[in-house]
């Protein structure tokens, strides 16, 4: 197995699990959709059907919201002490841990997440997030206030109510955990819509949540399409908040639907075109592999991907050379193969979109340094692709491609690169590679982006909030900030008499 490279892969020895859950999960039960319709979920490795999943629509969302509303307005969940919610969430995390391999396999076959990474990173991230927020459930502090007159004042942080979560297909487990865990800790109830490309693990998680003791109606999962289920959630009059991760285009629609319905609160974590800035003073041997991973990780299907690689002129040639060298060790193939770095794109639509961006790049005059073609095999595999001589006004430097395509640009000065890095409608993340303290501090404050990684990339942490500036969205996931987005602040005041202090 170790000798295999690019494309050809031996028969996988991994046990592909039987898909157990394909129905909607509403009020603690797996049910068919009202219409009885189903849709196919496809294995991106083979383009074959994995299974048929219940296709939710407006009526199903109504049922799920009704259950969530009831669970919030009259059920035990928001009325439990935080320490009891914590206990159930810790149990939930333990159950995920017990089913880790099966969940990693589900995401590998549904989303083409690398199975090995799923096992050692992705599912564990989900478990960690549930434990992190379990620990936060009994630490939701309001404040007592310093009032300016004879008043006693304090704030209460109350769960916001019924939350609609619309999550993407690129990291089914992490996205699910990132949204569901803080909302559960806050005491909210919810309706989750997983992406139509990757509905399987969310249904499995719903099953585990029930086993852990999450009361019926608190967590509902409605599988289906954005134009039906997603639209029904964002325009529902009885949902108090919608939290969405996905494309900027869809983000516009969701916010519009919220605006024209009940003005529900909206949190959007959208696209990005994040700069990865390499200054002259870095160790190229360390930085080039980091840049490669920053762009190609998960087939380039990550919103914070470092897709605009700005390299200072002094080390430009050396850096590009080292990138190419590193690319020789990069293996594209079956995500179940532990030697593989890159699997297929998630579906045909994405695959074709990426290929068309590569064509546009060539047409607009960028130099195709390497890659650029689909792999000659079944499935949605694309070669890792690097363009040089990219200018800021080219389409591939402006649009989010969401594929294994890197654009390299040369820069001279810090001031110049700050300006160019900020010249985008997005503002999700940025990487700054330098050993100069002043450069690091100045650039990190200057970049208009929600996350800055200095001499690292993808340094996600349970405790570190992520989220965008500008058209990359608003509101944070992860960290205590994410917990707070599921909480209302209520301010309370009452007169006091004869207080010995104010």
């Amino acid at each position: 197995m170790s000798g295999e490279r690019n494309g050809h892969v031996e028969e996988s020895t991994i046990m592909i699990p039987k898909v157990k859950f394909t129905k909607l999960f509403i009020n603690g039960e797996f049910v068919d959709s009202v219409s009885g319709k189903t849709f196919e979920t496809i294995d991106p490795r083979s383009e074959e059907v994995i299974g048929k999943v219940a296709e939710g629509d407006k009526e199903d969302v109504d049922l799920a919201v009704k259950a969530a509303r009831e669970a919030f307005d009259h059920g035990p969940w928001p009325r439990l002490p935080g320490s009891e919610r914590r206990k159930i969430m810790l149990k939930f995390a333990d159950l995920i841990e017990q089913n880790l391999e099966e969940l990693a396999a589900l995401d590998a076959m549904d989303a083409a997440n690398l199975y090995l990474l799923g096992k050692i990173v992705m599912i564990n991230n989900g478990i960690e997030l549930f434990r992190y927020y379990a620990g936060a459930a009994d630490k939701i502090h309001g404040e007592t206030l310093k009032m300016s007159k004879q008043l006693h004042g304090y704030t209460l942080l109350e769960p916001i109510g019924v939350v609609g979560h619309i999550i993407p297909w690129n990291f089914p487990t992490q996205m699910f955990s990132m949204k569901v865990a803080p909302a559960l800790a806050a005491g909210c109830t919810m309706v989750v819509k997983p992406a139509e490309q990757t509905p399987l693990s969310a249904l499995f998680y719903a099953h585990l949540a029930k086993l852990a003791g999450v009361p019926d109606g608190v967590l509902n999962v409605v599988t289906g399409y954005g134009s039906t289920v997603g639209a029904a959630i964002s325009s529902h009059m009885d949902i108090d908040m919608v939290s969405f991760t996905g494309s900027t285009v869809t983000g516009h629609r969701i916010m519009q639907a919220a605006a024209t319905s009940n003005l529900k609160q909206v949190c959007l974590e959208l696209g990005g075109k994040s700069p990865f800035i390499v200054f002259d003073d870095v160790d190229v041997d360390k930085t080039a592999p980091l840049a490669l991973n920053a762009c190609l990780y998960n087939q380039g299907q990550i919103c914070v991907a470092g897709t605009r690689v700005f390299v200072q002129e002094g080390i430009y040639d050396k850096f590009v050379g080292r990138l190419l060298e590193q690319l020789k060790t990069w293996v594209v193939g079956d995500p179940f193969d532990p030697n593989v770095n890159q699997g297929p794109q998630v579906d045909k639509k994405q695959y074709e979109k990426v290929l068309s961006y590569i064509e546009v790049g060539k047409k607009e005059g960028a130099t195709l340094l390497t890659g650029g073609k689909p792999l000659d095999r079944k499935g949605y595999f694309i070669e890792p692709t690097i363009f040089t001589d990219v200018t800021d006004d080219m389409t591939i430097a402006k649009d989010e491609i969401f594929g294994p395509v890197m654009s390299i640009m040369k820069f001279k000065s810090m001031e110049e690169v700050i300006k160019r890095a900020n010249n985008t409608k997005y503002g999700l993340a940025a990487g700054i590679m330098t050993n100069n303290l002043n450069t690091a501090n100045t650039v990190s404050r200057s970049i208009r982006a929600g996350t800055i990684w200095i001499n690292c990339y993808f340094a996600f942490d349970n405790d570190a909030p992520v989220g965008g500036y500008k058209m990359s969205g608003f509101g944070k996931d992860m960290g205590i900030n994410a917990l707070h987005k599921y909480l209302h602040v209520k301010s309370i005041a009452t007169p006091i008499y004869n207080s010995p202090w104010l």
């Binding site: 960690e128 620990g135 207080s499």
Partner: protein, 537 residues
Amino acid sequence: MAARRISTMLSRSLSLSSAATSLGRKYGLGRGMQRFSTGTAAVLEEPITPPVEINYTKLLINGQFVDSASGKTFPTLDPRTGEVIAHVAEGDKEDINRAVSAARKAFDEGPWPKMSAYERSRIILRFADLVEKNMKELAQLETWDNGKPFQQALTAEVPMFVRLFHYYAGWADKIHGLTVPADGPHHVQVLHEPIGVAGQIIPWNFPLLMFAWKVGPALACGNTIVLKTAEQTPLTALYVAKLFHEAGLPDGVLNIVSGYGPTAGAALASHMDVDKLAFTGSTETGKIVLELAARSNLKPVTLELGGKSPFIIFEDADIDKAVELAHFALFFNQGQCCCAGSRTFVHEKIYDEFIAKAKARALRRTVGDPFKKEIEQGPQIDSEQFQKVLGYIKSGIDSNATLECGGEQFGSKGYFVQPTVFSNVQDDMLIAQDEIFGPVQSILKFKDIDEVIRRANATRYGLAAGVFTSSVEKANTVSRALKAGTVWVNCFDVFDAGIPFGGYKMSGIGREKGIYSLNNYLQVKAVVTPLKNPAWL
């Protein structure tokens, strides 16, 4: 009715005893049947021997159970009988030195402060799970060593212990410093670092809970610990510390030294290599501890000391609830709570009714072998405390307070005291001023809110207070006016993990539990660096 209760107690006692015998523990019938008397009922019973083995009696240093350097031991006694439960290694200065050296090494070189906060939280969670699995044994051991009702230990204290560790596990990965705006072009961030080796000295009244209050935050913050237990109750701390190591706690992180205050305690408080000291106990000892810290290396000190907490009942309160809670506030845990509501201030309009009901409630209080389910009150911890409590009762009588009920030893063996109620207590009486730490309720009469605030505050203590009223205004005014670290309004002894606890005045320094407890175990470091051309300030 009394007769029926006696027979149930007796039969339960015998069946439990035979279970104990079959488990092979030494059980001497020769211990004798003793006569407990409540005045109205006479009870024949033998103390129940709990079916729990005592496996850990040595010092726990650097992950190993070891004899004391001197080889000496001391007996730990059963407060029901005064008989020896076990002989425990007696730590002294040399043992403290060894424990501190292990803790120092574990902090300076070991993995504990260096591992990720998530990993630390996992170990603490695993520990809590292990305690949960050994709940019954721990509760038995706690009752045996301390004399508190077994049901209280089993259904309240050990579960609370577990909850506390779950709570602190959740803090480990959420310890946030601030980034700070500067006046000029400077980047300022504040790091919260573990403080180092923490010395902790805990009392005998809640051996497990006091362990959790101290150890939980110190470990969550990444410190290492030398903990000295009270000489009266050394057993459960050794047991749970063993479980902590099973859960993956690295050696040297948590060291337990059993022994006495003037030897082991003093050595810890004055040690030059201990970075922080936390003590819970009497105000007198607190002064010594603070002085030793001052004389040695100026280690910061947290003190949680005595109290003489007022429990104020206004005329608009629900009187039956107030009677029950005032009773609970004082008599809980044999009156051995630092925050006991030991000055019951009752508004004159309801005073007579309250006295009658409080007396009736005290007379109904069931006293006896704490292993029996229906028993509310066990023995005082030891002979010294027992004598001290009886001495205060005598003082109350001598100073002309009205003894409504109780006032004497309960039975003839062990350290049991009758639930005692005094009325007509005046502020200048000793029983209204000193911490008695026993089942002695002092009831005082008051007229108006300003008066009761003044009188409630007229004490050198300031640990807690209870306020009973249905008026929002009174509740707010009194809560702000009382100089005490905790005010319970229409409740008492609510001790959630998140609620900070600690004293004003001579009741102590600092706060335990809640987010506030983390500060005790963190150093605050400001890191400042200039900014060139900052985009904003």
